[in-house]
């Protein structure tokens, strides 16, 4: 869908006209990311992160397929085959580091993408489906990243596989059979490594399919914007191309600079040194921690140390960890406030930043040694995480008195900016001056 004022695709070249009548692919692209898709004119740089996530997926698929040409998914040789990639394959070190750091890059931009949605209420009606598909993509990403980390068959790979498949053994009755089914044995071994390779190859393409649905669902209502106010007319939007293709292109350039810093100057900064030790099934490293992007959830898992209400601590931890993500599926119905953007929600805004700090703290506690201080702190932080969604949000959305919203996107853009008071598409709006901006012509 698009707004009625969207430009129409009009192929000029005879070949394009011929194609348009038979398979209108260029028309589809034009309406999806070309001039045929009008986008709110006030998007800030936080709206770059969707494109960056798409870029990260492309980096991962391309480097991943290449690595698959040299990697051997067999417990006896997997570690050596990765070292062969590092030493012998032409530029293999570059491709491997790009893939490993690419996963961190992917999760980092997706976390910012998620918190953008939380801050600006991008999950609210009519964009619930965009949010729900996004949470599915997030779960798939974590599963994919986990299985990819197993493949080098280092110490962290092996023990990560042991612990994460162990989550399933917490399920009563069917849990242990599920764990054995996942591993194809009683402990991680060749069969587990082999199937993780197969699934690690498969899932990115499932993610790509979900991303198509994600974008499709987004394009029905169109993009949200920092005011959270609906688009009211042509003066509120600019065509995606060239305005946002250019802005996204600039963002991609900056992001690739940051990515290159990690890739070329500190490729191991985000990894764990123990994964340079080949897997040893008879020794767990004394300081085993998951990858940084799992740490907040890992801290929630570790926070449950005592049995409670007939449910063992182990099951509590696993339920809480999965629950902390599954909770997000219900967010559009938990937050009942009709105001989307936190810019106009003074109370919600405070709790939003407390949640950000809480998640960062959880990340810190996830890698801390378990002692009574860190366990108590992670219990408080985990408790707050759930309280934020289950208690604070419903209450805030009931009692909060939002600030006055701008009447339109163009009004919020023009407010107090004399020099730029000639909005695109509105000829008669020059020199509007301070105070209320002119109402849209239509």
């Amino acid at each position: 869908m698009s707004f009625p004022w969207a430009a129409h695709y009009a192929p000029k070249h005879p070949l394009m006209r011929w194609l348009d009548e038979r398979l209108p692919m260029p028309r589809l692209v034009y309406n999806a990311i070309g001039a045929g898709y009008p986008v709110p004119r006030n998007l800030n740089y936080f709206w770059n992160f969707g494109v960056l996530a798409g870029l990260a997926l492309v980096i991962q698929i391309v480097t991943g397929v290449v690595l698959g040409m040299h990697y051997a998914a067999n417990g006896g040789v997997a570690f050596d085959s990765v070292e062969k990639i590092m030493r012998d394959v032409n530029q293999g070190w570059f491709i491997r580091y790009a893939h490993a750091n690419g996963a961190s890059f992917f999760l980092a931009v997706v976390y910012i993408h998620i918190f953008r949605g939380l801050y600006y209420g991008s999950y609210k009606a009519p964009r619930e489906m965009v949010w729900l598909i996004g949470v599915v993509i997030f779960l798939l990403m974590m599963a994919t990243a986990f299985m990819g980390y197993v493949l080098p068959w280092g110490q962290m790979s092996f023990w990560g596989a042991q612990v994460i498949t162990g989550f399933f053994s917490a399920i009563p009755v069917v849990g242990e059979p599920i764990r054995i089914w996942l591993l194809g044995g009683y402990a991680p071994d060749n069969d587990a490594l082999n199937r993780f390779f197969s699934l690690h190859y498969l899932l990115p393409f499932v993610i790509a399919g979900c991303i198509i649905l994600h974008i499709w669902a987004l394009h029905i209502p169109g993009s949200n914007n920092p005011t959270g106010v609906d688009v009211k007319g042509p003066q509120d939007t600019v065509p995606f191309h060239p305005y946002y293709t250019a802005k996204d292109g600039f963002g991609v350039g900056v992001a690739l600079l940051v990515f290159s810093l990690f890739l070329f100057f500190m490729p191991n900064a985000l990894g764990h040194p123990d994964n340079y030790i080949p897997a040893n099934p008879l020794s767990t490293p004394a300081h085993i921690v998951p990858e940084w992007y799992f740490l907040p959830f890992y801290a929630i898992l570790k926070a449950f140390t005592g049995d409670f209400l007939w449910i063992p601590a182990k099951l509590w931890g696993v339920l809480a960890m999965f629950g902390s993500i599954l909770l997000l599926f219900f967010l559009p119905w938990i937050d009942r406030s009709p105001v989307r953007s936190s810019n106009y929600r003074p109370l919600y805004k405070k709790f939003f930043w407390v949640l950000v700090v809480d998640v960062i703290l959880l990340g810190y506690l996830g890698q801390a040694e378990p002692n009574w201080k860190t366990v108590l702190a992670s219990q408080i932080c985990a408790g707050y995480y759930f309280a934020h969604f289950l208690i604070i949000l419903p209450i805030v959305s009931m009692i909060e008195r939002p600030l006055p919203l701008p009447r339109s996107i163009s009004e919020s853009v023009l407010h107090g900016e004399d020099e730029e008071s000639a909005p695109y598409g509105v000829a008669d709006a020059s020199h509007a001056g301070h105070g209320p901006a002119p109402q849209p012509a239509a």
Partner: protein, 191 residues
Amino acid sequence: MATLDQTDLPPGEAPPPEHGLRRRDWLNVAAVSFAGVGAAAIVIPLVNQMNPSADVLALASIEVDISKIESGMGIKTSWRKQPVFIRNLTPAEVASANKVPASSLRDPQTLAERTKEGKQNWLVQLGVCTHLGCIPLGIGEGENKGPFNGYFCPCHGSAYDEAGRIRQGPAPKNLVVPDYAFKSDTVIQIG
């Protein structure tokens, strides 16, 4: 609808109102059910191929010579690709383990229930934390034995006592005692 049971109505009489299942409905249900059974028959092997294969299931038992393990020492060996802890408890450790009332434990078991009769000092158990499967520290010389002088799992901080019983942390069960038997005074067979 001109189904068989309606064709012999007397002329001019309205057909009876629709009620219950028609024979065509039954055909629909049967066809869909049959397709469902067929689909399930295809899914079963696709799921079952991931269960342990024949070579993994062919698990031999192993024999371990324990004659060199002195009192207070322990060894780590491998069985079914999992570590097994074999420990020769000192009399002090046996006494300390027996002092704890079993009913006060999360997974109540006495040391006698975890060892063979008359061999209470020989503790044989899987070195796999019952939480999420890491190998607890404590069997090797100088390793962190945790607050209960037994085993300490570094992954999530579970602590076990001298007898491998869970005392603190998220693990739900005591360390698992596998099937084993004394072949002689110095050889045990695991599995």
